[in-house]
Amino acid sequence: MQFVRNILYSLKKYSYLLNQLVSRDFKVKYKRSILGIGWSLLYPLLMTAVMAVVFKNVFRFTTPGVSFIAYLMTGLTYFNYFSEASNLAMSSVVANFSLLNKVYIPKYIFPLSKCLFVGINFLITLIPLYAVILLTGTGLNIYHLLLPYSWVCLFMFTLGMSFLLSTIAVFMRDMFYIYGIVITLWTYLTPIMYDIAIIDKAWIVSLMKLNPMYNIINFERMIVLYHQMPSGASWLACFLSGAVVLVLGAVVFKKNQDKFIYYM
């Protein structure tokens, strides 16, 4: 209880700093760009278009019963959030070492601010996602109101991974390179551009279902593409994917944060 109260107290105290860090990222991101925030809308559309051409027309991937573009985009929107936020957060502690060496700031604020910053960007990318959902004739349904649950799980998972990665990166800068490879592999191991049904070995499928990103995206696709209420198991898998990783990441981060300063 005390621990939770301490976190809430420091979050309140540093909420203005958090706010400033997030808005700084926004100001810097679109500096000197003509389209500015328009890129947040256009970029996911263009990426999806390129991948759709490659995987649908060249590799002949199909998703029976649902539009391939909508299938691709539901996965990409979520996965891009995860990969961008965790990548930025990983270097956030190391990048702010000069600051941490001068004033006391709770260290978790840097990964958290990156996850929030990319999170706002994620909410903007929901606009092109919904445009695709409507234009492909996928259609809406009442269960869409449950989607924020999957966003919360996605956020928890990403934040937990960010805590883990930023801790490892402090002790071992090799992580920047390793993670680049890992995230590429992860993209292909998660059924984003193909249907999990095309895999015919049962043990591989059950292994793939342990992937937190699969569970979170699956929850979303149940609603958006298949117009179904996600099953109880699906709710639970989605929650555990986020919560377990968040707790794990937070514990590792908290245990090691006092040592960070020696590894500048």
Partner: protein, 253 residues
Amino acid sequence: MDEIMIKADHVSMRFNLGIEKGFSLKQGFVDLFNFRKRREKKQKKAENDFWALTDVNFEIRRGEVVGLIGSNGAGKSTMLKIVAGVLKPTKGTIATYGNICPMIELGAGFDMDLTARENVFLNGAVMGYSKSFLESKYEEIVAFSELQDFMDVPVRNFSSGMTARLAFSIATIVDPEILIVDEILSVGDLAFQQKSEEKMLSMIQGGTTVLYVSHSIESIIKLCDRVIWLERGHVRDYGDSERVCSAYVESIS
């Protein structure tokens, strides 16, 4: 008047100088099969430990101005960082009561891509000030820095003197309960140097609790009520500033 503001209780700080060398895969693999070296390495690790501070005790009461003196590497800056909360002591505890303004290095967290105005709020937030406080003091900060015409210019285009003036103006806007000063800063051109020095002196003499590090014995005697003399991480002496300072000067000559 005798409320304790800073209390250091058996504070010790260890640095491991060997950490710098780091770990490489090749060396780690070679050492894995070299049992003698592994044993030696364990010993070496203990030898590499460097105690920047050992068993430091002091109490600073409200309104006291306390100086920290000692040669380079005596542990003064480490002590300031521990009081500021940047470092956590290896052993012992440090307790501080009240908001701390660390004037250790100014302009921490300036973003060169942002304008001066945006940096006032970002840097202020880093120092732990609230939004309403910064908004109410904004005009004062700008006036003190004399940079009225440049507030919408990115700090990237500032000269180093201008950046320092802005940072100084933000840092000194508060009335902190505990002020941590590493040398009296005088920044900018000649006129601003005088102005900033006066401002710092008035902050130190304004009745707040101050922990002040300086190599200028003159100013230590002038400003401080009491002095802590650190030598290789130990408190060599703690007491009346004139007595401790003269003992310190004598020990050098």
